[in-house]
Symmetry: C2
Subunit: 376 residues, 2 copies
């Protein structure tokens, strides 16, 4: 649409019309049957997306509220190890330090593999909880959640997995992987509006619930209210309606198809980068993979971040730059949610044109390479 910027960032992402219209509904009493039905629909439809049979609690707040809820309720006073190879891993570490005096950060350079050997050592030395960002969008690297879950299980440690940007767009099997806590944000792969975080909680986690809990993020209060299909505090009702509609779309598409579509879009972006002769940012090993919901590409010499993204923006498309220490070094393209081949072709065309205009003539046509992958 001419008056709407096409968001090809690692969230927020464009929302389908049905999702947007669901928000425009008149206010209802959130203690009544109509909200209860919406609450239950969301719960039922989220479970397969998380790959869990555990309780799922929906907080009216951002993904960061979900991250804080996970740590505040279950890691306080515990010996926590936070795995960090990007901005969001670092945020979980920061939260762990807020709630525990025994929080350790196991940091690798952003976009490089986590050190699983060191994690093993920490677990052998008595670590009781591990935090991980499954899909670290700041560096577009996918961390080995299944592997880390196994290690946690072996040492009986709680495993807190931020799946904010993978759940609904990539394979996540919270129960099979042993994720005691998994977190998703509404405005990422689910293509709902920003403002909700959903947190799944295992039986083992409930057994470890902290004695001191904050009020608004007290997950035990959410669990109690969930028995009446309610939330303990007033929910952001329009966002619940929107999330339900977004989950209906996930159901209609089929989760496997949706995941395949996400992988295909990311494959196409990576094929384009290769054709252009540009380097992908993450450094992988046998455990780590490229993210299938966001791709980070290193700027070639001579391309200046704000000028580059500014030009793309003037074409009506928004991509992301690097965050914090990666500012000016990479650009990131999100392939999340309801977007498909047309949007991927659009953003790649804009990037290719801008690269050329700003002095970096691509080695070959990335748009065509992507089209092959997308089978358009």
């Amino acid at each position: 649409m001419q008056d709407e910027t096409l968001l090809m960032m690692p969230g927020p992402v464009p929302m389908p019309q049905r999702v947007r219209m669901a928000m425009a509904k008149q206010a209802i009493n959130h203690r009544g049957a109509e909200f209860g039905e919406c609450f239950e629909d969301i719960n039922r439809m989220l479970k397969p997306v998380f790959g869990t049979e555990n309780d799922i609690l929906v907080i009216s707040g951002s993904g960061s509220a979900g991250m804080e809820a996970a740590v505040a309720n279950f890691c306080a006073k515990k010996k926590v190890v936070s795995l960090v190879n990007g901005k969001f891993g670092d945020r979980l570490y920061k939260i762990s330090k807020l709630y525990s005096d025994e929080a350790t950060g196991l940091a690798s350079e952003w976009g490089t593999p986590l050190d699983l050997e060191k994690l093993k050592e920490e677990l052998e030395n008595g670590a009781e909880a591990v935090t991980l960002v499954h899909n670290e969008t700041s560096a577009a690297i996918k961390n080995p959640a299944e592997e880390i879950g196994k290690l946690c299980r072996k040492h009986d440690a709680l495993f807190i997995m931020d799946g904010i940007t993978s759940i609904g767009g990539d394979v996540v099997k919270a129960d099979k992987w042993g994720a005691d806590i998994a977190i998703v944000g509404s405005q990422k792969c689910l293509a709902a509006p920003a403002g909700l975080a959903a947190v799944s909680v295992s039986e083992k986690a409930w057994e470890n619930i902290a004695e001191w809990r904050p009020l608004y993020l007290d997950l035990l209060a959410y669990k109690k209210s969930a028995q009446k299909s309610q939330t303990p505090y007033t929910p952001a009702v329009p966002l619940f309606f929107a999330l339900r509609e977004a989950l209906r779309i996930v159901e209609e598409e089929g989760l496997e198809n949706r995941i395949a579509r996400h992988k295909n879009m990311a494959d196409a972006v990576r094929a384009a980068a290769k054709a252009w002769g540009l380097e992908l940012f993450p450094k992988l090993d046998k455990y780590h993979e490229y993210s299938n919901t966001a791709t980070a590409i290193c700027y070639p010499e001579g391309i200046e971040d704000s000028k580059f993204r500014g030009a793309i923006n003037r074409m009506g498309i928004e991509i992301s730059g690097g965050q914090d220490e990666l500012k000016g070094k990479i650009f990131r393209i999100g392939t999340m949610g309801a977007t498909g081949a047309p949007e991927v072709m659009a953003v790649l065309s804009a990037v290719q044109k801008t690269l050329k205009e700003q002095g970096k003539t691509p080695q070959s046509c990335g748009v065509m390479a992507a089209a092959e992958v997308l089978k358009v």
Copy 2:
């Protein structure tokens, strides 16, 4: 509308069409200029509604999140006195106990006057912060915020005022009254969707900022981000658009007109209760008043809460019962937000009809008494 229940509760309240439609907008980048403009518009329009020149910070979360933010950021480790004469006063007391080891509850029976003499004593004995619910909807009583603000100022104590259900519908002058913190919820008198809380913070409060602060409710982080017209964590963007539209409507109506309309609606409900021969729930003294945004009426003998409200609900109108210890003893009619004479006449007609049908023939016609007040 036939398919929509008319909400005449103390929030949530019906939203004007313009507000609902504002939510249906496509997703945008919340780090860009378009969001910044919305952020600034909200800030500018909230200030006169709060009666403040202080910073106002908008949290994506319910009113309770705003209440917790106020206490967590400014009362931790302080000697806090929480004034309690209803459910929400009690919630602030509960939060104060979470964050301070020296929290005292000054409780009166719900719906009865607060004890200002005891408050004076506490302040003379070194209380450093006072929490108050200005408009206690659980009991429909308006507490003397101005008076309490004076006492706080005299003793140099921080004054935290929950104006969740008064700001935008009744006279609130945060600066003049010395409210260091004032809080509003989006889904009350402002007639926006549920899901946002706005918190104003005085210079004196900033000087008292707690060293340990939670992540999601860290108001200092909100203050820093506000310099860029942003929020520290992803905001619930559709709710911001809706709140802006709701505030535009407040501006168009004029704040004084809006407050007069609210008072007139509540006067009409009280006139009806009097005509029916029913007792208003709150007990007042010279400092306390009836709420102008919600009215609590005692059930006459023989009327059963769920049967009574169920019958009104079948007529397409929703009112509230009593909460917690007041369940079954009172019913509450909200007169908040965008509703006016037609909605008040509708709810009063439904109540009057149901009273009669369920065995309590009203003394005289409350609907007519209300019509006189409303000048319909």
